[in-house]
Amino acid sequence: MFMIGAVGVLARRNAIIVFMSIELMLNSANLTLVAFSAFLGDSTGQALVFFVMTVAAAEAAVGLAIVIALFRRKRTVNLNEINILKW
């Protein structure tokens, strides 16, 4: 799942789809944490998953706010056209 998310981040130009791929990668990390915590009998992994979900929620909110602000300026979410920082 992590690899599928990575392909999505690298190969898509729509910023919203890139965000969804990032959420996919975060979820795959969550799954790994939960699986290991179940096999090792330690609830540390699941507490960590709690924090990862919180951070992912905060990051999704701020990231989508950035996308909205960008869209107001440039009227597009195509990542190829957001190139003001390019030399």
Binding site: M3, I4, A11, S43, A65
Partner: protein, 170 residues
């Protein structure tokens, strides 16, 4: 074929399939819907691992809040289908796919080489640690400081999102 194995197989296959569909759809709202399917499959997988608190939190937070946020943003921005996916494969996509495939081969190799060949069932202790009480104990003793800092982080995220997204009051 125990029920656990069948459930794991079903959830895993549907999860991978929906993840693939998320990154390949042209229409962003269809991709968001497949991502919701993926989150439900992940919650099912968490339940097979006896992590009931995490499964419920996954559905509440991810499928219930974050995806609603995504859908609202897609609705507000009124996004159309992505043009580039109609043009077929470009060299960038092939390169991305190749790199990721290479990474995947590495990870699979490491996992297969180091995995104990018999541990496929969940040890019985997993049921005790997945409860709300066990995770709550960890959260309020070992992870108390990160727990409090998370509230600060969420406040900062809310303020940041509001500042970034509001209109100018000229």
């Amino acid at each position: 074929m125990t029920l656990e194995s069948i459930l794991f197989a079903v959830f895993a296959v549907v999860g991978i399939a929906s993840a693939l569909l998320v990154v390949t759809r042209r229409n962003p709202i269809i991709a968001a819907l497949y991502l919701i399917v993926n989150f439900f499959c992940l919650a099912g997988l968490y339940l097979t691992l006896h992590a009931q608190f995490i499964a419920v939190i996954q559905i509440l937070v991810y499928a219930g809040a974050i995806m609603v946020l995504f859908v609202f943003v897609i609705m507000l921005l009124n996004l159309k289908d992505e043009r580039s996916l109609r043009e077929g494969l470009s060299w960038k996509k092939v390169l991305a796919g190749g790199l990721v495939l290479g990474l995947l081969m590495e990870v699979v190799y490491i996992v297969v080489r180091s995995a104990p060949h018999s541990a496929l069932s969940v040890p019985p202790k997993a049921t005790e640690i997945g409860t709300v009480e066990a995770i709550g104990t960890q959260l309020f003793t070992r992870f108390l400081f990160p727990f409090e800092i998370t509230s600060v982080l969420l406040t900062a995220a809310i303020v940041g999102a509001v500042v970034l997204a509001k209109k100018k009051l000229d």
